[in-house]
């Protein structure tokens, strides 16, 4: 019974209505309730182990990353002031790009997940962190932490599936608009921080009448306020401080923002949309148990293999599976969790998707191109 169902699931979701077949809800992992419970228990054990031994070494880690990030930012901006000399410009833009990437990925994203709340340091806390991004932190915490992480890859629920503008699953309806999606993807990648900010406003929900215009307007006002400050800082004040060297500083800041956008887009898309990552229907998650939720996180994410520096620059979202399983554990511990999670998944026959950056990225590009066409 189980195997027939899972075969059905893999071949085609649209032809046979899944709900009619699943009298008892069949979890997309193919595991039964007992197996899911045991799987969930093992995941809980991994989580508890980290919670019981997190301490000074972890605190030292995040303090170090923050100190390095801030120094890089200061050094990068200083070097850009001397940006008329090409080596300074290149070094400055590289340092500032790295600083922005570190801030958004390893620091901001993870702090806002509450990964460091246990330190009870009011300056490194999910309730106070404002990241170097036009998307206001409180909006991000709602759309990302609450919606995306709860409804991971559930079509119609998780608004991060294709970010509302890309068709990435054959079950999403096709229209001619989709033909342009390789271009939309390129634009989204370049302007990713704006895409993320506007994405949170949920324009489509307003049009469907499920969200009030007043709420959306308030959100837009907050984005305009924060975005305006970000633009002022990067494109007016810092360049102006350089006086006659206005342009090199402006170009450096623009480069840093775009590099950060391309990088975050790539890491996030590689973690969610390469081949082998599953998407789910709302029926899949009816009455989902804790174990079921854990299993869905594994099926719905993919890891990217790489060096230690690569992991840090990706905010350890290269360990996307571990991040989705344990979004509030300190990111520096995902690396040690990964082999343990993988072994447990293998034991339970849950596919664990982990490949190099180039393979994941290639498959994401192919998917975006393929789904531009019907089917």
């Amino acid at each position: 019974m189980t195997s027939t169902l899972s075969v059905e699931r893999e071949t085609d979701h649209t032809i046979v209505p899944i709900t009619t077949l699943r009298t008892v809800h069949q979890h997309p992992s193919g595991l039964d309730a007992d197996e899911l419970e045991a799987f969930g228990k093992l995941m809980d054990d991994l989580r508890n182990e980290i919670i019981s031994n997190r301490g000074k070494a972890d605190a030292d880690y995040i303090h170090r990353v923050i100190a390095v990030q801030r120094r890089l930012e200061v050094a990068g901006r200083l070097a850009l002031f001397a940006g008329v000399f090409p080596p300074f410009w290149v070094a400055g833009a590289a340092m500032l790009s790295t600083a922005k990437i570190l801030e958004n990925m390893e620091i901001g994203h993870n702090v806002m997940h509450g990964q460091w709340d246990w330190m009870r340091d009011p300056e490194i806390h999910s309730s106070t962190w404002e990241w170097d991004n036009v998307c206001p932190s409180d909006q991000w915490k709602h759309s990302h932490n609450e919606i995306h992480h709860t409804w991971t890859n559930v079509i119609g629920r998780d608004r991060d599936v294709g970010y509302g503008i890309l068709r990435i699953d054959e079950r999403q309806p096709w229209s001619k608009v989709a033909l342009g999606q390789p271009v939309y993807a390129a634009v989204l990648a370049t302007l990713f921080q704006w895409g993320v900010a506007l994405h949170d406003v949920e324009i489509e929900e307003v049009m469907k009448g499920r969200k009030t215009k007043v709420d959306a307007k308030a959100q837009l006002a907050a984005i305009a306020k924060k975005g305006g400050r970000q633009l002022l800082k990067d494109y007016v004040l810092f360049p102006a401080m350089a006086g006659p060297f206005f342009l090199p500083v402006l170009a450096g800041n623009l480069t840093a923002n775009v590099v950060r956008n391309l990088w975050t887009f790539s890491i996030i898309f590689c973690g969610h949309f390469p081949d082998g990552v599953e998407r789910f229907t709302e029926e899949d998650v009816v009455d989902e148990s804790r174990g079921g939720w854990y299993a869905r996180q594994v099926l719905g994410s993919a890891n990217i293999e790489g060096s230690k520096v690569f992991h840090i620059l990706s905010g350890n979202l290269s360990h996307q599976i571990e991040h989705h399983l344990f979004p509030d554990l300190p990111s520096n511990r995902y690396g040690e969790l990964a082999p343990k999670v993988r072994a447990i998944c293998e034991q339970y026959g849950i596919p664990y998707n982990s490949r190099s950056f180039s393979r994941q990225f290639g498959s994401v590009i192919r998917r975006i191109a393929r789904r531009a066409l019907p089917g």
Binding site: G55, R70, W118, M119, E123, W131, D132, K226, Q230
Partner: protein
């Protein structure tokens, strides 16, 4: 005009550093330069007894001067986690070197006190909140005084005596100090020397041992009459263990002079148990839920759930920790009072949830 320029510069700096505060970068150079949070560097640690130490701190920008007898909340990171506890200042206000001192007695199993006494190093950075508390001499500096202290309760009184001494005020004071044993008595030598220099200062020490207080040492009217015959004519400051305070309060009360007794507690007596009820606590602003067994203060529950609510004394005196109640009831652990109106302000350090509650925190 000048402040205008300063303000503009500050605003300009804040835009440049945004979304982080300017401090985030300033502290890279020196953590003491912060203008929004007050930090201090440990400059010296002096052992007072086998398990007590005085810690000299150099506060950074933002430090306000204190009055003798006041306390500060000190925040330290222990195994990566921020802990804050109140400690009385033992130094003279506005010392020429700009430093302040606290004196800490390690209590058995005490997380912060043991860290401060045994692990803190010179050069470490600690976090400070502004001085607080009304256990001060006020206008009584030249009145006849009586001090009664037990154990580490000597600290605020030491601050007062050092301040009077430094101001060259001719002391008219008696000090009764209790500790478990002579080598556990913090500041005993300094107080004896002070008594030698000031003919108007009498210092009397009693070693109580570790068990229950021997009857001949217990604070009674008879004993007071023997040690300080004019005690009822003196303004009195007392700080020490709960039984000592309770005895003094009863004596001053029956003498009808309670207003002459000023007391400070280091530990709240959280004894109310009526109406204890387990439930779920919801911290609305942070979206966190945690179970409460009805006996532990909301502040502790919140901290264990990873929040860091603002607080100072942790024992219901400073009101730094008040939070609005949204629904449900809370029990004041000091006196069993129940608060259950929406919008009530709750001192979370001494209030336990009584069934399900939600708080704007």
């Amino acid at each position: 005009m000048f402040t205008n320029v300063l303000e503009r510069t500050a605003r300009f700096g804040a835009t440049l550093s945004s979304p982080l505060p300017v401090d985030a970068f300033v502290r890279l150079v020196d953590p003491l330069w912060s203008s929004t949070v007050c930090r201090a560097r440990v400059t010296r640690i002096m052992r007072e007894t086998p398990d007590a130490a005085s810690i000299v701190l150099r506060p950074g920008r933002g430090w306000e001067s204190h009055q003798a007898g006041q306390w500060i909340a000190v925040g330290v990171d222990i195994d990566g986690v921020r802990h804050r506890r109140p400690y009385s200042l033992t130094s003279v206000p506005e010392r020429v070197d700009g430093c302040i001192t606290i004196t800490v007695q390690a209590v058995p199993d005490g997380v912060v006190s043991n860290f401060l006494v045994h692990q803190l190093q010179v050069g470490d950075i600690v976090h400070l909140d502004p001085p607080n508390g009304d256990f001060t001499l006020g206008s009584h500096s030249s009145s006849p005084l009586l001090f009664i202290t037990g154990g580490s309760g000597v600290t605020p009184v030491m601050g007062m005596l050092r301040t009077l001494d430094a101001a060259n005020i001719a002391l008219d004071a008696v000090h009764l100090h209790y500790a478990a044993s002579p080598d556990q008595a913090i500041f005993a030598d300094e107080l004896r020397r002070l008594a030698v220099r000031h003919s108007g200062f009498g210092f009397k020490f009693g070693a109580t041992g570790t068990g229950p207080i021997p009857p001949e040492l217990a604070l009674t009217t008879r004993r007071l009459d023997a040690l300080c015959p004019d005690w009822s004519a003196r303004e009195t400051w007392i700080c020490g263990p709960a039984p000592l305070l309770a005895a003094a309060e009863a004596i001053w009360e029956s003498a009808g002079i309670s207003d002459q007794l000023h007391s400070e507690r280091f530990q709240p007596s959280l004894t109310a148990t009526n109406g204890t009820k387990a439930g779920i606590v919801q911290f609305l602003d942070s979206g966190v839920e945690t179970p409460g067994d009805g006996t532990r203060p909301l502040l502790e529950l919140a901290e264990e759930a990873g929040l860091s609510p603002k607080h100072g004394c942790r024992m219901g005196i400073c009101h730094t920790c008040v939070v609005r109640l949204n629904s449900g009831s809370v029990l004041d652990l000091r006196d069993g009072r129940i608060q259950s109106d929406e919008g009530d302000f709750v001192q979370i350090c001494v209030s336990a949830p009584c069934g399900d509650v939600s708080l704007e925190l």
